[in-house]
């Protein structure tokens, strides 16, 4: 009888609705993604969602929670989808399943389930995969190298075979790092140009989705805008110092899932900060770490680690960024 006290009226909103809008917002990005990198994306997505739902169902049963209430909240589906679209489209099914299990079982339920997870579930799954299978996780197909559905299905089911190798591409950030490592001073950009163009368009898809979420008041401007601006500023500083060694800031923002991160990953409410000031600090922290890991770290992509690291700081950030209570300034 929890509703026998005021307020007796309520806005019609629910966690399910929030998650549904997030899924809707992902659609433009996903469509562009499929256009450039093939149907493998859709296989990945379905595998991730199915794994998520099955594992969620089993764990809810084990924990004695109401399956009806929790599975419909949609949070598992969102986390699984975010993971799936971060993984290359030519990854085999077991990569997806392992990653999703990490996301749902370890990052979400072992930390207490909906609302209690300390770390961003999708990023935990991603980080686990990146550490365990670095080769697969960094192998992207050449954009618009159309593989048939059949070929995609083959890769999905049996993994990438020798014979199709050679059409994969490294990400620009990764490529440059390797070249510099090899001592090359002048870098031939043509080898990754098409990839870079593709991610730009995908990024714009996510940007559209993000604007939709902001318009629907699911997210506030603080996280994405701070993240993008900070990343831009840091990248510009380094780029102005040495434009050959460091990528130009636009590449940083438009590649490697930066926009996905800005609008969909760091805006995960559960593992992020709640105060406006806290959000700014958090996004700034992620941006700095992303840049440092991308440019100076051992991994091609730093988002997962940056987010996880900043997640640790959230309680502290929240505590010291409390807004002024009415009349107490």
């Amino acid at each position: 009888m929890f509703n026998q006290q005021s307020p007796f009226i309520q806005k019609t909103s629910s966690v399910t609705q929030v998650m549904l809008l997030v899924m809707l917002a992902l659609i433009p990005g996903i469509l562009v993604y499929v256009y450039y990198f093939g149907f493998g994306v859709l296989f990945n997505l379905s595998a991730a969602i199915i794994t998520a739902l099955v594992s969620e169902f089993i764990i809810l049963k084990m924990r004695g929670l109401s399956v009806k209430n929790y599975i419909t909240d949609g949070s598992a589906i969102v986390a699984a989808s975010l993971l799936a679209i971060s993984i290359p489209s030519i990854a085999p099914w077991w990569i997806i399943v392992i990653g999703t299990l990490f996301t749902i079982v370890i990052a979400k339920h072992l930390y207490g389930g909906l609302g209690s997870n300390l770390f961003n579930p999708a990023m935990v799954g991603y980080a686990a995969l990146l550490i365990s299978f670095p080769a697969i996780m960094t192998k992207w197909p050449q954009p618009i190298e159309y593989l048939s559905i059949h070929e995609h299905l083959n890769i999905f089911l049996y993994g990438l075979k020798e014979k199709v190798d050679g059409f994969t591409s490294a990400t620009p950030l990764d490529f440059i790092k390797t070249q510099l490592f090899l001592g090359n001073k002048v870098i031939d950009t043509s080898s990754y140009q098409s990839y870079a163009d593709a991610t730009k368009i995908i990024g714009i898809g996510y940007l559209l989705g993000g604007i939709f979420l902001w318009y629907k008041k699911i997210i506030t401007w603080h996280l994405p805008i701070t993240f993008i601006i900070s990343l831009f500023v840091i990248a510009s500083i380094f780029w102005l110092i040495d434009p050959i060694q460091f990528q130009n800031p636009m590449t940083h923002i438009l590649s490697g899932g930066s926009l996905l991160c800005a609008f969909f990953i760091i805006t995960d409410p559960v593992s992020g900060p709640t105060t406006p000031k806290g959000k700014i600090i958090f996004a700034l922290g992620v941006a700095v770490l992303v840049y440092l890991i991308r440019v100076f770290g051992g991994y091609p992509e730093g988002i997962a680690f940056a987010v996880i690291f900043m997640n640790i700081c959230v309680p502290l950030i929240d505590k010291y960024s409390q807004p002024k209570v009415f009349g107490h300034d």
Partner: protein, 187 residues
């Protein structure tokens, strides 16, 4: 190698200094421990702890003579607060000293009272009014519910009455709804 050792020593020094400084700067100047213990005790003055009142019990706890779980009116919450203050492990209330009862006040049946003044002498907070050979009555607001006036009364005219919930002391209850099928209270 040498550099590493030097760096470590330097680090240790700096941290040591910071710790030392903060322990001086942030030292809590508190009232003496007896006062703090006394502030937690419910001031029922009933003596169930086997000391003649709350203050003596507080002194005994401070000197380590008495345990923290001897005060039934303070209840489990009181023991917890004392454990936290003293920095010791919580232990359940020692039932040999009595059990926690709901707060009550004493009532004198004014028809039976013979005015012997024995209860007045027993009351630790002077909550009973009356003079020799006159009917006595209890100031309800001042009574702590210690029950010390019960045994001396030769005609057994004093009874303890539990304070019922009324419009003034009424409280909002913990919202109960179930998140899982198993537990009712969410913790």
């Amino acid at each position: 190698m040498l550099i590493a050792i030097l760096v470590l020593i330097l680090l240790a020094l700096i941290i040591g200094l910071v710790l030392g400084f903060s322990s001086i700067k942030f030292k809590v100047k508190g009232d003496p421990i007896v006062e703090k213990i006394d502030a937690i005790l419910p001031q029922t003055q009933c003596g169930q702890c086997s000391y003649p009142g709350c203050k003596p019990y507080a002194k005994a706890i401070a000197s380590g003579e008495a345990d923290i779980n001897q005060c039934p009116p303070g209840g489990e919450d009181g023991v917890k607060a004392l454990a936290e203050l003293m920095g010791v492990e919580y232990k359940p209330l020692d039932e040999s000293h009595g059990i926690t009862k709901p707060k009550s006040v004493a009532f004198i049946d004014e028809d039976t009272c013979i005015g012997c003044t024995l209860c007045i002498q027993a009351c630790p907070v002077d909550a009973i009014l009356g003079a020799a050979k006159q009917m006595h009555t209890i100031i309800e607001k001042e009574c702590t519910g210690c029950e010390l006036c019960l045994p001396p009364c030769p005609v057994d005219c004093i009874t303890m009455e539990v304070i019922e919930e009324n419009a003034e002391n009424w409280k909002w209850k913990y919202p109960v709804y179930s998140l899982s099928k198993k537990t009712a209270k969410v913790q």
